[in-house]
Amino acid sequence: MLGPFLGPVAKLLKAIASEAGPWQIAWGFALGMLLGVTPFWLHSVVILLLLMVLRVNFASALAGWALFGLFALGLDYGSHAVGEWWLTHPAWQDTWTALYQSRALQLWHFHNTLMLGSWVIGLLLLVPVAYLAYWSIPPLRLHVVPVLQKYHLLRANKANSWYGRFVNVWRRF
């Protein structure tokens, strides 16, 4: 039952245990959160591009994506309500109408209630999640990681997994 949660948590803990900087891990996790709370669409490709070209921790991004993807199952109702409220708010009709005239902007589905609401929530959570992750890393490295290492829970033959091979190739760049 806890299987879906354990994978992302393990990835996150491995990232914390790695030599990556705290900000790299924290921003990777925050961008992964943004991927998780928003529906997969064109912007997701852009966020993936950012994760690739920015020096952030990719493993923590994948963990954030997976964790907040599960979290979004409950969050979507609130996201839809926020998006609907904003899109149908009389004061904003002119703005939305103006944006709607661009078919390129329509392509980003800003006029979808769930998309807009999840973006609002994701962006509001982005910096707090990044800071929360940043502040959480030193205590975790100090108290949790040694215990996990003691019980060999973070050991894995990374080279034998597809993910490990991908990371090994990536590190050469």
């Binding site: 529906p39 490709v45 993936l48 591009l49 994760l51 690739m52 070209v53 920015l54 020096r55 979004a72 199952l73 979507d76 109702y77 996201s79 839809h80 998006g83 609907e84 899109l87 149908t88 009709q93 939305w96 109408t97 709607y100 005239q101 078919r103 329509q106 392509l107 589905h109 006029h111 979808n112 209630t113 769930l114 998309m115 991908f166 190739v169 990536w170 760049f173």
Partner: protein, 617 residues
């Protein structure tokens, strides 16, 4: 310089390569495997919707212009897995990709070719959910009615009928007879015998011969007359009371006899009613028989309607102009804002459908079916035309669905010279059939806050029939075979959820008339036999009552004669004798008075003479 370095350290440009590799790989994979993915998605989703296995032969995604061609779709019938409910040779659609990416479905063209129904599958399909099939329980109303059509022999009919009214009334008449006999016998005990009556005459004669020359003799005669009159009066009262009881008894017996005479008639009416052979029963029988088919059609139509109702409601409902998405079960939607060339969220510009059915080939067209007709300012038009029909000359369906102002649907459906054959007009156990007919059907209905309109169905050259081996219903067979035309009319009303159809037809009247004509002679003969049988029983039962009535009548006549004789011979004589005595007495008294006066005159004369003589001296 440090800022540039830190900015440079922010990026790892080498990450672009795996990104391009991943995205490009996905793009190429999607491009290469789009057909397989589309086919798989179609199969799984259609199977889920259909509730049974759906096979898609091939799917071909075209990118420029964007579209999809799907070949050989076979949708298993959940109720008959060996057959397909629907089989489509090819579906080709062309979509506006840009509109699709911005949350709208704009179908530029749709062609559905080789649509077939109820085709046999190469192997039975897998069923996920089986639609419940309505089951009939027990005999139908028509079957129950038909069970009584065959006529038994009159004697059997009387035996089966149970207690007869005739017999009950005969028993009542017998009881009345016995009661009357008792009353009359009781009164008869007080009647004078013939000797007494003769003695009255003798005494009268004796009195008449008496010499009434003195007051004493007259007084004696009067006393005897008075005594005799009293005795005669007592006996006459007894005779009168007896005659009254006889007449009253006769009235009672005659009334009971009349009741008894009417008994067979009522028994016959009840038996005819039991066998549905009264005029009302014949109409009811015909109505039941032929109403069964309409009821089945209505029931079938209601089942189809119930199946289609969610779709109809979804289409009829004036929804917000939005596109539903199903991500994670949230009813999110695209909010549409004013734009220069607005496009509704769904717009089927034109669809072309060709279908093959058992009865012939059809071609259809749907134009401008959209989620928001106000935006395109056109109603949706749907039409279907027969291109080849086995059993009719032509058929056409035209529908105009206008939701620009409210919600209005106009439907016209016509079938010309439809040669009907082998229609079962009833349940399988009662194979009444419309063997053949030719019919013109026209349907004209509108929806606007409710259904209005109707359907006319004119049947001609009709031939009804039943299998020869069917043992029942010979009379009905004759009746049905004589009907050669009839009309059916259906009037529509009600709303989308609860549509109402009121059927009317002159078929019932025609069949009822034919039943009466065909059955009438046989029923009349049967009724005659039944009546003769009942009359025999009645005569047997009424014989003692009638004999008693005749006996009472004879008694009444005899005692009326005796009473009249008593009145004439004795009472009249006594009255005459009384009068004579009175007259005689008056005559005697007058004579005595005259003699008295003469004696007084003489005495006075004697005294006067004596006085005169004395004076002379």
């Amino acid at each position: 310089m440090a800022g540039i370095t830190s900015f440079t350290r922010l990026f790892r440009w080498g990450g672009l390569i795996p990104f391009v590799a991943v995205v490009g790989g996905l793009w190429i994979g999607g491009y290469l495997f789009a057909d397989v993915i589309a086919r798989s998605l179609l199969q799984s989703n259609l199977t889920r919707i259909q509730g049974a296995q759906v096979d898609v032969g091939n799917a071909d995604v075209a990118w420029q212009p964007f579209g999809l061609v799907v070949d050989d779709i076979q949708m298993t019938d959940p109720n008959r897995p060996s057959h397909n409910a629907v089989q489509v040779g090819q579906v080709a659609m062309q979509l506006d990709l840009w509109a699709l990416l911005t949350g709208k479905v704009l179908v530029e063209s749709l062609a559905v070719d080789e649509l077939r129904f109820d085709t046999e599958r190469a192997s039975p399909g897998r069923v996920i959910t089986r639609a419940p099939k309505p089951q009939r329980e027990g005999p139908t109303a028509a079957q129950r009615a038909m069970d009584t059509v065959d006529l038994p022999s009159p004697r059997d009919a009387l035996e089966r009928h149970g207690p007869l009214e005739t017999e009950a009334r005969a028993a009542a008449a017998t009881a009345t007879r016995e009661r009357v006999v008792g009353n009359v016998s009781e009164r008869g005990e007080n009647l004078p015998d013939d000797q007494t009556l003769a003695s009255y005459r003798q005494r009268v004669e004796q009195l008449q011969n008496r010499n009434l020359n003195s007051l004493d003799a007259i007084q004696q005669v009067r006393a005897e007359v008075s005594e005799l009159t009293a005795a005669v009066a007592t006996d006459r009262l007894a005779m009168e009371q007896f005659l009254n009881s006889v007449e009253s008894g006769q009235r009672d017996i005659r009334s009971a006899l009349n009741e008894l005479l009417a008994g067979p008639g009522e028994d016959i009416a009840a038996i005819l009613n039991t066998y549905n052979l009264t005029p009302d029963g014949q109409i009811a029988l015909a109505g039941l028989l032929l109403g069964e088919q309409w009821a089945q059609w209505i029931e079938q139509g209601q089942q189809w309607y119930a199946t289609a109702l969610p779709w109809i409601e979804r289409l009829l409902e004036r929804r917000r102009d939005s596109q539903q998405t199903e991500r994670r079960g949230v009813d999110s939607y695209f909010v549409l804002f004013p734009e220069e060339n607005p496009v509704p969220r769904f717009w089927l510009r034109e669809a072309r459908i060709s279908a093959h059915t058992d009865g012939g080939d059809w071609g259809g067209r749907i134009v401008d079916l959209s989620s928001n007709p106000v935006l395109i300012d056109r109603p949706a038009v749907m039409e279907a035309r027969s291109t080849r029909l086995d059993a009719a000359e032509a058929a056409q369906l035209d529908m105009i669905w206008d939701r620009r102002q409210g919600n209005q649907l106009d439907v016209q459906f016509n079938i010309d010279r439809w040669r009907v054959s082998g229609w079962q007009l009833d349940h399988d156990e009662l194979p009444v059939g419309l063997r053949s007919a030719q019919t013109d059907m026209s349907l004209d209905a509108s929806w606007q806050n409710g259904w209005t309109g109707g359907m006319n169905w004119q049947f001609g050259q009709t031939r009804f029939g039943m299998p020869a081996e069917w043992r029942s219903g010979n009379l009905l067979r004759q009746a049905l075979e004589s009907v050669n035309q009839f009309d059916v009319r259906a009037d529509f009303s009600g709303n989308a959820v609860f549509p109402r159809t009121r059927w009317s037809s002159d078929l019932d009247d025609r069949v009822a008339s034919a039943v009466r004509a065909a059955v009438g002679a046989q029923v009349a003969e049967w009724e005659g036999q039944l009546r003769a049988e009942l009359d025999d029983r009645r005569r047997e039962l009424e014989a003692p009552v009638r004999a008693e009535l005749e006996r009472l009548d004879a008694q009444r006549v005899e005692w009326e004669r005796k009473r009249d004789a008593l009145d004439n011979d004795v009472r009249a004589a006594l009255a005459s004798l009384e009068q004579r005595a009175v007259d005689e007495r008056r005559a005697v008294e007058q004579r005595l008075d005259q003699e008295r006066r003469e004696a007084e005159r003489r005495a006075r004369q004697e005294i006067e003479n004596r006085a005169r003589d004395a004076l002379r001296f």
